[in-house]
Amino acid sequence: MNMHAQPQRTLAETALIDAFGERLSLLPGDGAVMVKRDDAIEAIKHGLPTRRVESWHYTDLRRLLTSVPAFETDGIAKALDPVLDSSAVLPVLNGVSNSKLPEIDGVTVQRLSEKLTDGSVAPGLDRYGADDAIGALNTAFVADGYFVDIADGTQLEKPIELQNLQSGGQAHVRLLTRVGAGAKAIIVERQAGEGSDALISSVSQLVLDEGAEVTWLIVQEQPDTATHLAQFKAHIGKDAKLTLFIMNAGGKLVRQEVVVRTTGEGADFKLRGINLLAGDTHTDTTMVLDHAVPHTTSTEVMRNVVTGKARGVFQGRINVHQYAQKTNAKMACNTLLLSDDGEFSTKPELEIFADDVVCGHGATVTEIDHDHLFYLMARGINEKTARGLLVKAFVAEVIEELDDEALVEALEARLDGWFLTHG
C-alpha cells in the first residue's frame, strides 16, 4: 500500500510541487501546521497513487489527473440558495470563507484560516494512511474553510449548509465540525461550481460526542470540467447516530472518500448514496469504516446509475476490530448500467477480526429488469417513460428512507432536475 517512488514526475505532479513553492508564503499556519504541510508535499513528491496502490486500483490518479489549473485570484463564485429552505448558509467562495459569520444559538462558527494561523487544528491535518493522497493534497494547500462547534444539548431547528463553490482554478478547503453531547443537527455540504477547469480538494471532519444525532448531506454537482477530490471523516461516539447521505451528480474526475470510525458503544452509522453518472465522468466513492468498539451498528446502501461513457467505482471496506464483538454491519451496492459504453467496478470488502458479529455485503450490477419494463409497458406507458420511471424509482428508494420530509422533497427535486437534463 505504499506509494511507490516514481521515476519521472507527471505534469500534474510537477505543477502541484511548483505551486506549493509559489503559494507557501500565502498559506496560513503556525510552525506545527507548516511542518504538516511539508510532510504532505513530501508524500506528493513520492508520486500520486497509481492503480498499483490497492485503494486507488480503479482510480489511477497519477494517470487521470492530467492537468492542474493555476490558482485564480479573482473568482466570481456566488453563494447559492440552500438545498433546504431556511438553512443558515456558510459559503466558501473560490477557497475563501466569508468574514461575516452568522449568529446561530448554541453554535460557534470560526473561519478555518484563523484556526490554521493559531495552529489549533494542526493535529487534525494528519493523513489517515500512506495511501491518503487527498489528505496529503489538502493538508499541503488548505487555506480556509470553517470550524463549526455545536454545543452540548443544542437541538438545531434550522439546518446549516456549508457551501464550497468554485469558478475555475484551485481550491483546498476544510470543514471541521464538532457536535456536542446530545446535540442534534442537519448539515448540508454543498459542492458545486461553474466555469472552466477546476481542481478542488475538500476535507470534512466531523466528531459526534455521546448521544449526538446528525444527518449530513453531501450534494456534489460540480461542472463536468471539475476535478473534485473529497474526503469525509467522522468519529461517532457512544450512542451517537450519524446518517450520511451522498449525492454525486457531476464532475469530470470525482473521488469521494468516506472514512468513519465508531469510537463508543452503541454508535450507529448509516450511509445512503446515489451516484448519477453521465457524460464521461469518472466517479469513485470509497468508504473505509472501522468498527473499533463492541456493540456498534452500520448499514450502507449505494445506488448507482451509469449512462453515457461514465465510469463509476464503489469501494467499501468494513473493518471489524478484534474486540468489536456484537458488531452488526450490512452493506449493499446496486448498479444500473444503462449504456454499453459505461463501466462500473465495485469492491465491497470485509475485514473481520472478531467472531461474534453479523456482517454481510451484497453487490449487483444489472440493466433494467425486462419484466418490470414489460409490466409498465403493458399498461400503455411508452418505453422511454417506463425506463425513466424505473430508474428514478431505483434511486428514489434510498432517498425515501430518510425520515425528514423536507429533506426527501428537496433531494427528489434535485433528482428530477438531473433526470430532466440527462434522462
Binding site: 467496478s345 465495485t346 473481520i352 458479529v357
Partner: protein, 505 residues
C-alpha cells in the same frame, strides 16, 4: 459441559499439530545442487531428455523472471524467500519399470501405505506392470472397475508412475507425466503449453515455467468421455526442495474429463515452496472438472514450518458452450495463495468455482477466483466458504469482469465465512467490473456465527443441540462438498466436517 468438551476434542483432532501425513521417508534421492541459474535449468532439461525448444522456453522464462519483482499485494506475511537456497530438482533413485511389488523400492511402498492408499491401489501406484490375467480379472470385476481412478503419482520433482495408461489409450485419452508428454507428444505440448498461463504471467508462474520438473498431462480427444476419473497425488518428501509441477489438461470438442488432485508433505521446521501452474483448455462443448483436496503440511502449532503454496491455476473456455469447473478443499499449507480462474472466451461458455478453505493455527489463506467474461452469453458461479480458527487469517479475493463485448454475461457469487475464536480473521475482497450494460452480476457475502434462530428451529423439532449445530454447519459447506467426486467427497468431509462442528461450540 460434555458437549463443549467433545467439540474441543474434535477441533483438536484436526488442529495443525495433529497433521497425519507429516512423516518423512528416507529414500535415496537424486538431487540437483541448491540454487537457480541457467546451468540448473539446463541440468533439469537434460535430466528430462527434453528437446531444444523446451530448453529455450525455460531459459526465456528464467530471463524474464530475473526482471520480475515478488508480488506483495496478497494478505499474507512471510519472511523473504531465498530462491538460491532451494533444490530445484529431486527424484527418487529407482530402477525403471519394476515388474513386481518386490522390485519396487520398499520405502516408496511404505509412503503410499502411510498415506492411506489401499493395498490394491498401492500395487497400482507402485507401478507394477500387470500380467494379462490380472487385467482380465479386473475387467470382470465391475464393482471394482466403476470405482477405479487412474493415478499419476508425483514424488518431489518427478512423476513416479501413471496407472491405467493402456486402458485410457484405448479410449484415445493420453494421461501421462508432462515430461513424457514433452518427449512423446511434442506437437500437443508445444501447441497448448503456456497458452493459458504465459511464461510472463506472474512472478511464480514465470519461475515455474523455468524450473518445472513434472506434473500431469491429459489430452481427451474429440467426442470422448474419459472412462474414469484421473488423479494426481503430489508428495513433497525431500528437504529444502521446491515442488514446481506443471499440469496441462486439454479437452477437445465435446470431450469430458474429471481430474482430482491431492497433496501432502512431511512435517519440517523449514518452510518449503510449492509453486505450481495448472492450465486447462476446453474446446467447443467440452467440459473439464478439476477437484483439489489440498492438505500440504500447515506448520506446527506455533506457526513454524509448513508449505508455501503459491499456485497459478487457470482454465480457458476456448470453445463455444464449453465448461470448466473448479472445486477445492483447502485445509493445509502454511500460506495458500491461489486463484483458480476461468477465462470465458467461447460464446455460451460457463465457469464454476466451489471452494472450502479451512485455516487453523497460524495458517494464512488468500484464495479465490477470477471469472473473466469475454464471450457472449457466458455465465459463472462462485461459491466460497471460508472457515477461520486459531490465529489464522482467511481471505477470499475474487474478480468478476465483463468485457465490453460480453453481452448477457451472468455471475452469481456467494462467499460466506465462519469465525472460530477471536484471534483469527476472515476477509472478503471481491472485485466486480462491468463494462457491459447487459451484464448481470450478483455478489453476496456474510460473516457470522450460527444464528440462534436457526438453532432454535432445528432444536424445537426434538434434535439435541450438538446435532442441530452439526446439521447447520454441514449445511454451510454442502454446496461445495456436493461438487466433489465421490472419492474426494468422503476425504473432504473427514477433513473439514470435524473442524466445522467444533467451530460453533
Amino acid at each position: 459441559m460434555p458437549a463443549v468438551q467433545e467439540t474441543i476434542d474434535r477441533v483438536r483432532k484436526i488442529d495443525v499439530d495433529q497433521y497425519k501425513y507429516g512423516f518423512q521417508t528416507e529414500i535415496e534421492m537424486d538431487k540437483a545442487p541448491k540454487g537457480l541459474s541457467e546451468e540448473i535449468i539446463r541440468f533439469i532439461s537434460a535430466k528430462k531428455g527434453e528437446p531444444d525448444w523446451m530448453l529455450e522456453w525455460r531459459l526465456g522464462a528464467y530471463r524474464r523472471w530475473l526482471t520480475l519483482e515478488e508480488p506483495t499485494w496478497a494478505r499474507v506475511h512471510y519472511p523473504k524467500i531465498d530462491f538460491q537456497d532451494i533444490h530445484y530438482y529431486a527424484a527418487p533413485k529407482s530402477t525403471p519399470g519394476p515388474k513386481s511389488l518386490s522390485e519396487v523400492d520398499p520405502e516408496l511402498l511404505k509412503v503410499y501405505e502411510k498415506l492411506g492408499i489401499p493395498l490394491k491401489e498401492q500395487e497400482i501406484l507402485a507401478g507394477v506392470q500387470k500380467t494379462e490375467e490380472s487385467e482380465l480379472e479386473e475387467a470382470n470385476d465391475n464393482v471394482y472397475k466403476s470405482g477405479r481412478v487412474a493415478v499419476d503419482a508425483v514424488f518431489d520433482s518427478v512423476s513416479v508412475v501413471t496407472t491405467f495408461k493402456k486402458e485410457l489409450a484405448e479410449a484415445g485419452v493420453i494421461f501421462c507425466s508432462i515430461s513424457e508428454a514433452i518427449r512423446e507428444h511434442p506437437e500437443l505440448v508445444q501447441k497448448y503449453l503456456g497458452s493459458v498461463v504465459p511464461t510472463s504471467d506472474n512472478f511464480y508462474a514465470t519461475l515455474n515455467s523455468a524450473v518445472f520438473t513434472d506434473g500431469s498431462f491429459v489430452f481427451v480427444p474429440k467426442g470422448v468421455r474419459c472412462p474414469m476419473e484421473l488423479s494426481t497425488y503430489f508428495r513433497i518428501n525431500e528437504k529444502n526442495t521446491g515442488q514446481f509441477e506443471r499440469t496441462l489438461i486439454i479437452a477437445e470438442e465435446g470431450a469430458y474429463v474429471s481430474y482430482l488432485e491431492g497433496c501432502t508433505a512431511p512435517q519440517r521446521d523449514e518452510n518449503q515452496l510449492h509453486a505450481a501452474v495448472v492450465e486447462l483448455i476446453a474446446l467447443d462443448d467440452a467440459e473439464i472438472k478439476y477437484s483439489t483436496v489440498q492438505n500440504w503440511y500447515p506448520g506446527d502449532a506455533e506457526g513454524k514450518g509448513g508449505i508455501y503454496n503459491f499456485v497459478t491455476k487457470r482454465g480457458d473456455c476456448r470453445g463455444d458452450r464449453s465448461k470448466i469447473s473448479w472445486t477445492q478443499v483447502e485445509t493445509g499449507s502454511a500460506i495458500t495463495w491461489k486463484y483458480p480462474s476461468c477465462i470465458l472466451r467461447g460464446d455460451d461458455s460457463s465457469g464454476e468455482f466451489y471452494s472450502i478453505a479451512v485455516s487453523n493455527g497460524y495458517q494464512q489463506v488468500d484464495s479465490g477466483t477470477k471469472m473473466i467474461h469475454l464471450g457472449k452469453n457466458t455465465s459463472s458461479r462462485i461459491i466460497s466458504k471460508g472457515i477461520a480458527a486459531g490465529y489464522s487469517q482467511n481471505t477470499y479475493r475474487g474478480q468478476v469482469s465483463a468485457h465490453r463485448k460480453a453481452t448477457n454475461a451472468r455471475n452469481f457469487t456467494n462467499c460466506d465465512s465462519l469465525l472460530i475464536g477471536d484471534q483469527c480473521g476472515a476477509h472478503t475482497v471481491p472485485y466486480m467490473e462491468a463494462k457491459n450494460a447487459t451484464a448481470q452480476f450478483e455478489h453476496e457475502a456474510t460473516t457470522s456465527k450460527i444464528s440462534e434462530d436457526q438453532k432454535f428451529y432445528v432444536m424445537q423439532r426434538g434434535i439435541p443441540e450438538e446435532e442441530a449445530i452439526a446439521l447447520i454447519v454441514n449445511g454451510f459447506v454442502k454446496d461445495v462438498i456436493q461438487q466433489l467426486p465421490m472419492e474426494f467427497a468422503v476425504e473432504a468431509q473427514k477433513l473439514i466436517g470435524i473442524s466445522l462442528e467444533g467451530s460453533v461450540g
